[in-house]
Amino acid sequence: MYATNVETRLEFVGQSIDGSQRMISPTALAVRTTTNTRGFLGGADQFHPGPHNPAFVNHLRDLGELACVVGRPGLFKVEVILTERPRHHATESRRAVQVVCVR
């Protein structure tokens, strides 16, 4: 529980059918989820401190699917970017997945 303390940021970049891009707020996703998930997603587009959370890593694709629902209509795909960095350090590690939105 206390072995790590990192800062995490989550971004959702939506791409429309016409090729234009727009950011989708994690807070917009948060209101559609359950209590515990809401706590993690609310304001997650800014770095937040906490232990390394494997749920983010394991569910990036699921989060992308939810972003597709939230970003309707006209969204073609969503890129979910998870950025993690140790506290007080500039070195960042990034994971990203692309989810094609089912129409």
């Binding site: 529980m1 206390y2 072995a3 790590t4 303390n5 996703l29 559609r32 989820t33 359950t34 209590t35 515990n36 998930t37 809401r38 706590g39 993690f40 401190p49 959370n53 494997p54 749920a55 394991n58 569910h59 699921d62 989060l63 939810l66 629902v69 140790p86 506290r87 007080h88």
Partner: protein, 276 residues
């Protein structure tokens, strides 16, 4: 008074862990523990409207999850009372894990350990004593071996998880203090300088790994649980980390090997006889 043999200590651990399970998985938790252990809804993990994230994507229908919550509570009560506690413990722990699996972002290692602990005690002779409908005893030595192995694994994994530069340098400890997760004079003193933070952090990691060893060495296995108890009391003083300390304090109880202390047992029994 009944002598504090291994089977009695196992049974006491069953009752205490069962009670902790009941409190932590119901709104009673909100009255007893801090906000880390807050239970939303009528029971822990009760289904809510909204997008769910389950382990492996296996999202169960809401009525199934609700039924598992109710079954978990009922089984925990019979586990405490000792009514076919082996089956009850397996159901309670199994339902606990099932409900936990439905909320990936609500995963807490403490709950995972609590549910595994109940499953584990259900498989031991903890269900054969101090029970309304006792199960058939199997073997106290193998029961104690199982509990010792489980407790050891927790310390070993906790120690291994801290073997990285951010922890060993004391950085993580300092930032946890900055965030107010750790507080009190003990942590203030232990992290007053960078050097002290590094020494404290390294000592905690090394101490956990050492405990995992000391619990098995014949010459130290008696004293090791007492070191662990002091460690958890210190952890409670600085962090209040949900109920993990209480889970481990309960699981350490059968490892105290009181039955190998005939002098102490005799004194307790004779004092009880004198009162009677």
């Amino acid at each position: 008074m009944r002598p504090l043999t291994g089977s009695v200590l196992l049974a006491i651990a069953r009752v205490l862990l069962g009670l902790l399970f009941l409190v932590r998985t119901t709104p009673l938790s909100n009255l007893v523990f801090n906000r880390l252990a807050f239970v939303h809804g009528p029971l822990l993990g009760w289904p809510e409207p909204g997008w769910s994230f389950a382990w492996g994507g296996w999202v169960l229908p809401a009525p199934v999850v609700a039924a598992a919550c109710v079954l978990r509570t009922g089984a925990a009560i019979t586990f405490v009372l000792g009514v076919r506690a082996r089956v009850a413990g397996l159901i309670a722990g199994g339902c606990g894990l099932l409900v936990l699996s439905q909320d990936a972002f609500g995963f807490i290692f403490t709950l995972y350990t609590l549910f595994l602990g109940v499953l584990l005690l259900a498989l031991t002779d903890a269900t054969a004593t101090l029970a309304l409908v006792p199960d058939r005893p199997v073997s106290v030595p193998s029961s104690l071996f199982t509990v010792r192995a489980f407790v050891t694994s927790i310390y070993a994994w906790a120690g291994l998880a801290k073997l990285h530069s951010a922890w060993l340098s004391g950085e993580v400890l300092s930032t946890l203090k900055e965030d107010g997760i750790l507080s009190g004079w003990l942590i203030a003193s232990a992290t007053a300088t960078h050097e002290r933070s590094a020494i404290t952090a390294s000592a905690v990691g090394a101490g956990e790994l050492l405990l995992a060893v000391l619990l098995w060495v014949p010459k130290t296995r008696r004293i090791a649980p007492y070191f662990a108890i002091v460690f958890h009391l210190a952890l409670e003083a600085v962090a209040h980390p949900d109920v993990i300390s209480w889970v481990l304090l309960i699981l350490l109880l059968p490892l105290l090997e009181w039955e190998r202390r005939p002098e102490l047992c005799r004194r307790i029994v004779s004092r009880d006889d004198n009162r009677g």
